[in-house]
């Protein structure tokens, strides 16, 4: 890790104005005060981290900086001069560039075409393109930002697409680069490369604001860090003078357990046996290539991998709904009986009746109907259950009673089951889904990204619930792109790449480096599957706990 204190204050003279300064920024949406009296000063040539739970107001603050929202009060100074950022064009002119979590690239344009989009010099494209080609070459050499300028964006890996976004900002002569959760979609190796790029940019005098919820990243590359909680800036400290524990406490407002407490697994009979599972999608592309898996009662099998390598499809097939037009072959057995993979008997309803619970990857699209009330969502997927029905009619009173009790037990806030799902924060939405699926006491629980976009306090709670279900002798399949989460929760880890299981490891006997290689599709020579049945060590620190 670079010694952050060396860099504090940036390379320029400390008397020089900050690259960007916020004074008393406030912004309210209706009754919700998203930002309250926020002041922040980011010296030129530094990497400044901003962390906070979901809904703490980070994104609102950045949207204000980029001109999407107008602050109700307060002042923004860029390079010491107060400016009013009314739209993104003004922000770009002021030298602010933004790399969004979800890239804003035209998929079927080449890299060059994407770079000049919106800043073409004239009606003819050729001069702009050749100018951009020159600039790109220079930038690539300077900052290790190598991308083939003539490649079509959809053929690029996610990491490369992100580089294009950074290049776009630099091409527009951004001095201040804001990155919103940039590593969510990257492999560990890609993330490392990104950090090298960012450090290079900083050393050239650029200012970088990094928004993240990963404490490890904050500790690794930022010089200073600001913590937001409930719309307020609760602390701004030098990274070298803080610790992950302290930051977590600042974020949540109380002490947080950063590691998962769990006893060794006591696995019993296999619940799910998957043999040679293959899936060809509607376009004829083979997306799963012979998956073999076993999950026994009382253990958590974690599936690590960069998203898009078949984990989602695996969850969908096991959940009973392979995508439209997909051809699935292979054999799946649950509790000793065969599971039909297509036709009659295949369907999410049938799987639920067989004792499968499913916490889907995307709670906003699948797990919840956002316009439904919390109580309607508690019946979602289980609307056929006899206790929720009274003859022809649904027993709404019973559903509401059940919902209220679940919200009580899972501490969903606000505890109002008549509120629409979209009015809950991400963590509380997820708690509704988790409560619904776990309290059905399924024999097999499928979990996709259990804590994506969930705040630390809720992560701790959800992890505890998952471990408790395991200890109750249930089988759990956990898919997550968060390696830390996989390592902390799983009893065995399988790594998926390009529709295959690359290998299986025991979490206590592997490293993120080794898993990272597998996630990138590189099998090493000592590729022996982990011995089944050996329980792993008791407790795994989340790597961010080590810092």
């Amino acid at each position: 890790m670079t010694t952050a204190s060396d860099m504090l204050g940036g390379r320029s003279d400390t008397a020089a104005p900050a690259a960007i300064e916020l004074r008393g920024i406030s912004k309210a949406f209706g009754a919700v005060q998203a930002n309250r009296d926020i002041s922040l000063s980011v010296p030129r040539g530094t990497i400044h981290g901003i962390i906070g739970e979901n809904g703490a107001g980070k994104s609102t603050l950045m949207s204000i900086l980029y001109g999407f929202y107008k602050p109700d009060e307060g002042q923004i100074l860029v390079g010491g001069r107060p400016i009013s950022i009314s739209d993104s064009q003004t922000a770009i002119r002021a030298g602010i560039g933004m790399v969004f979590q979800h890239f804003k690239l035209v998929q079927n344009f080449t890299v060059l075409e994407n770079i000049i989009l919106g800043v073409e010099d004239g009606a003819l494209l050729r001069p702009s393109l050749s100018k951009a080609r020159g600039v790109l070459k220079q930038l690539a050499a300077e900052y290790q930002l190598n991308v083939d300028p003539d490649e079509v964006v959809e053929n690029l890996s996610v990491g490369h697409q992100q580089r294009v976004e950074i290049l776009k900002a630099l091409y527009r002569q951004a001095d201040i680069l804001i990155l919103d959760e940039p590593t969510g979609v990257l492999t560990p190796a890609e993330a490392d490369h990104l950090f090298r790029i960012l450090k290079g940019l900083r050393d050239e005098g650029k200012t970088i604001i990094l928004i993240t919820h990963k404490l490890r990243e904050i500790m690794e590359i930022t010089d200073n860090v600001s913590v937001m909680r409930r719309g307020e800036m609760v602390a701004s400290v030098r990274t070298a003078q803080t610790s992950p524990e302290q930051l977590a406490e600042l974020m949540v407002g109380r002490k947080v357990l950063l590691n998962v407490d769990k006893q060794p697994a006591r696995p019993q009979a296999p619940v799910l046996e998957v043999r040679g599972l293959t899936m060809v999608d509607i376009d004829g592309v083979e997306r799963l290539r012979g998956i073999d898996l076993d999950i026994r009662a009382g253990e958590i099998l974690g599936i690590a991998g960069v998203s898009g390598n078949g984990q989602t499809l695996l969850l969908e097939i096991l959940g009973g709904y392979p995508g439209k037009g997909a051809k699935v072959s292979g054999a799946v057995q649950m509790n000793g009986g065969p599971v039909p993979l297509s036709g009659r008997g295949c369907g999410a309803g049938a799987r639920r009746r067989d004792g499968v619970g499913h916490i889907p990857e995307d709670r906003q699209v699948e797990g919840l109907i956002m316009d439904f009330t919390a109580w309607e969502n508690v019946a979602f997927g289980w609307h056929d259950a006899p206790e929720f029905n009274k003859g022809w009619l649904m027993d709404n009173v019973a559903i509401r009673r059940d919902a209220q009790a679940k919200m009580e037990r899972f501490d969903v806030r606000p505890r109002d089951c008549h509120l629409a799902a979209r009015n809950f924060s991400g963590g509380n939405q997820q708690k509704i889904v988790v409560a619904r699926e776990i309290e059905r006491n399924p024999d097999l629980l499928l979990i996709g990204q259990p804590t994506r976009g969930v705040d630390i306090g809720a992560i701790e709670f959800i992890h505890k619930q998952i471990v408790a279900l395991r200890d109750a002798g249930k089988a759990i399949l956990l898919v997550s792109v968060e390696l830390d989460e996989i390592l902390a929760l799983s009893d065995r880890v399988a790594v998926m790449f390009d529709g295959r299981i690359m290998g299986e490891r025991l979490p206590g006997q592997t490293t993120t480096g080794e898993l990272g290689l597998l996630m990138a599709g590189i099998t090493d020579t000592q590729n022996t599957p982990a011995e089944a049945g050996i329980p792993p060590e008791t407790t795994h620190d989340l790597p961010e706990g080590r810092a």
Binding site: A28, F29, G30, A31, V32, G319, G320, Y321, G347, A348, G349, A350, R351, R352, H358, P360, D362, V365, E366, G367, L368, I369, M370, D371, F372, E376, A379, F380, G381, H383, D384, N389, W392, L393, M394, N396, N423
Partner: protein, 368 residues
Amino acid sequence: MDKMPKWADVILTPLISLILAMGFSALVILAIGESPWEALKTMVQGALGSSYGWGFTLYYATNFIFTGLAVMVAYHASLFNIGGEGQAAMGGLGVALVLLYLPLPHWGLALPAAMIGAAVFGAAWAFIPAILQAKRGSHIVITTIMFNFIAAATLNYVLVNLLRPVGSMDPATARFPASTNLPSLTDMAAAIGITWGRNTPANITFLVAVLACFLIWVLIWRTRLGYQIRALGRSEPGAVYAGISPVRITVIAMLISGGLAGLMAINNVMGEAERLVLNAVEGAGFIGIAVALMGRNHPLGILLAALLFGFLYQGGGELALWTSIPRELIVVIQALVILFTGALDNMVRMPLERLFLTMKRTSRGAVK
């Protein structure tokens, strides 16, 4: 996020839209040199000022309730069924076939039989677009509107070539047997000793329509099927995750929708004309879209919106009869109401929402 209070959403917004529409209509009437005030008085007097006016207003409203409910049920499955016109026309054919070819000694028997005929024919006409949408992804808007034309042409053929009584010059069926004629609201009022709405077409179907409003409310918000329809309408991937079959629910929702549109024929074909004539629907299928929009896709709202459009229809007719305002202008007024209450709904809603938010904020600020 905060929202404006429910009463503002449900009552104030349509009311303001309506007032805007009336304002613009007044300008149009002024522009052709007539008095808007006189026009309004004529409309209110003609549609609501007598039991005779009410008799017509309720008759029209009954049509619009059915077609409005049809649009609503499809809407909750996020399907835009604009084929109400064709489905109602086919429903008329169903009614005619039942009443002409089944020996039904009493209206009490004829009514349920004709309702089944109307609903089955309407639903069948919606089935093909539904299955095309569910299985093949053919857009329901395109297919249902095409099916309106096919329905019109089919009815034309059937009436001219098959059902027209021998020797008749009129492309219409024979009169239905007198035993199947529905009691009018006038008859029913007379039975309890009240003289009401003589020579008006409003009939017992109005009560059926009100009952349908209640039943559809139960269906959508109280049954498992309604739950599945709403879930599919809000998120198809979510529905699939929950084990709800999009194909099945799409088809069922469209069958119910088409059946409701078909049921309109009980009112106009069985209750009023007592035979099937050409173009019996007279655009009620399209008015249903505006009624559903204005009624916020809720049966109670649809009931109220249908009454409003019934008033506009009847009042408009009176206007043409008693003033020198040309008949075409009534269509303009009706169009303005549809434009403001349906299509431009957000134009009123958004500023209103903002107003309520600022009011809330300042009042809270004052408390502090």
